[in-house]
Amino acid sequence: MAKIAYRDAVRDAMSEEMARDSRVFLIGEEVAQYNGAYKCSKGLLDKFGPDRVIDSPISEAGFSGLAIGAAMYGLRPIVEFMTFSFSFVAFDQIVNNAAQIRYMSGGQIKIPMVFRGNSGGGHQIGATHSHAPENIYATFPGLKVVVPAFAADAKGLLKSAIRDDNPILVIENEALYGRESEVPDGDYLTPIGKANILQEGTDVTIVTHGRSCWTVLEAAQELHKMGIRAEIIDLRSIKPLDWPTVFASVRKTHNLVCVDETKPFCGVSAQVAAEVQRACFDHLDAPILRVTSVEAPMPFSSALEDECIPNVARIIEAVKQVVS
């Protein structure tokens, strides 16, 4: 085990898979000569050359569609969005082509590819650049969506996604790229669709994912001092979602708080709450509470922005309310 930064884990995953399979290539804005806007593809151009690490002009619909077409023909593309906020320019390609073509072709076509890149708020880059779109893409049957929170999963989930025969969105987060954490040695995969219990506990289950995992872990230390033992589940995979792990935990702790960076309306937490009340109604001691981004575009001022994504204070407040 070595401690490495999340962005290096992303790079290692791509590098290892490109070395393993010549059908894998990377395309996106600034991925080659510039080494990636967030340096996730550092060194890949030198290693694999310009035919496989491809700088694209600013044409999200064009290069996304190119990659989908190439996947239809049997290649295994990785598309990097500089941020997922820009993926909306390619929305039609993703939701009408990548997601639907297998079904509409009666199973004749596979689309083995990855869309990956930065997401999320907290960097004062305003409303158009701060989307957390995992709930949006997870709504489309045909797509899979994973959101790694730690370096180990940034690598393991991306490697699994590259090997999977479906279109998968790997949604990363700018706040995490520089964070170091332990990564197993050698070639390993994180299974898609399997949640991870970050911490065991008895009083309340906190279901979270992505950057919010780090915030929840921080909050859990405070809660511990107050005598509250939280069980923390990192979903890792939004679609498919690991319901058995979530249900088992809620049946043990009898309380649930959901924490995530999507918006409250039709967000990931809304989906989790709906399923848990159906499956675990008799086990719940209190109403499920959700801590999410707020129902507003992302403001610029840091004084406001910090309140708009889940923070430690809001998490503690919600947990206290649920367990009281």
Binding site: G65, Y103, Q108
Partner: protein
């Protein structure tokens, strides 16, 4: 309403760059020529039967017929091989039938049956036959132009020396995805030919009401690309120009726009009263019918007798009728099929 120009038999009408001279496309054998005629005739009869089936309520949803445009699909396909990928929009019956989809499964798809070419999951607009490199059938106007780029990219990546023909209507030239694709194609040297099937109308909107430059091949100018405008009611002329561009794509990885001037006899989809054009215009165009033109040429060449051609046509009529009946007798998909083919 401006009257549309009629074909003159000129073939290539204009280009943005000089066309390379690779000479004449290789001669088609007598059998191959007859095969293409048969496919054009089959498409015509298939569409006529579809028209009737729609009127009697056998087909739900949209249904876009190809009558009048047959020489586009046939002439371009005859210039390449079944190993070269093709992809098109929703007016896709011809492209499917000419790339190996049997009329039975084609009808069954229109009727929503389990035996449909895509198991009743795609319908009229989404024919696929990957065995013969036919990659759909796409319902979002212009959405397939980026996919065609990607198919061509993949052939080049794999070093296959192929070309992808990507078909689109005239209305699709106004979509952003198409323009992004043109730039990427020329910039990255991707062997894709964008065939604009200019039937002069985007639904009810005539070209001069939807495109600032009415000569659509000129869209290539903005990308330093080869653009060609050619007449498209004559199979042989279409095949020749398509072959030249395909050769250029294979030899030099160079993309192109091929604007083919054609005409559709039927309405846009089935519920189209066609207020936007005159009956006379349609009748004038019918006098330049692509199926008749090839038929006449074959007969004048004297390699096939009229009797043999009549016989071939009767066989096709019979095949269409039997396929339609076979499709009608086919079962609907099981409810469990709703949940299959979503993930690989």
């Amino acid at each position: 309403m401006t009257q549309k120009p009629l074909p003159t038999g000129a073939g290539v009408l204009a280009t943005t760059q000089p066309l390379p001279d690779y000479g004449k496309a290789p001669e088609l054998s007598r059998e191959d020529r007859l095969r293409w005629y048969r496919l054009m005739f089959l498409t015509r009869k298939f569409e006529e039967r579809s028209y009737q089936s729609y009127q009697t309520g056998l087909i739900g949803g949209f249904c876009h017929l190809y009558n009048g445009q047959e020489a586009v699909a046939a002439g371009t396909f005859a210039a390449i091989t079944d190993a070269d990928p093709v992809i098109t929009a929703y007016r896709d019956h011809a492209h499917g039938l000419m790339r190996g989809i049997r009329p039975g499964p084609a009808f069954a798809e229109l009727y929503g049956r389990a035996t449909g070419v895509v198991k009743g999951k795609g319908g009229s607009m989404h024919y696929f036959n990957v065995d013969k490199q036919m990659y759909g059938g796409h319902g979002i106007v212009g959405g397939q132009t980026a996919l065609g780029l990607g198919l061509a990219f993949a052939t080049k990546y794999l070093g296959e020396k192929k070309v992808c023909f990507c078909y689109m209507g005239d209305g699709a030239v106004n979509q952003g995805a198409f323009h992004e694709s043109l730039n990427l194609a020329q910039l990255m040297k991707i062997p894709v030919i964008y065939v604009i099937e200019n039937n002069m109308y985007s639904m009810g909107t005539a070209v001069e009401r939807h495109s600032a430059p009415v000569e659509l091949y000129k869209r290539a100018l903005g990308y330093d690309m080869m653009g060609v405008r050619a007449e498209a009611q004559d199979f042989d002329l279409v095949r020749q120009v398509s072959w030249t561009l395909a050769e250029r794509a294979r030899k030099e990885n160079m993309p192109a726009i091929l604007e083919l001037m054609t005409y559709r006899y039927r309405g846009h989809s089935m519920s189209d009263p066609q207020y936007y054009r005159s009956k006379d215009e349609v009748e004038e165009y019918r006098k330049h019918d692509p199926v008749e033109i090839l038929r006449g040429r074959i007969l004048s060449e004297g390699t096939v007798s009229e009797k043999d051609l009549d016989k071939l046509e009767d066989e096709v009529r019979k095949e269409v009728q039997e396929s339609h009946e076979w499709a009608l007798a086919s079962p609907y998909p099981a409810q469990s099929e709703i949940y299959t083919d979503i993930y690989a």
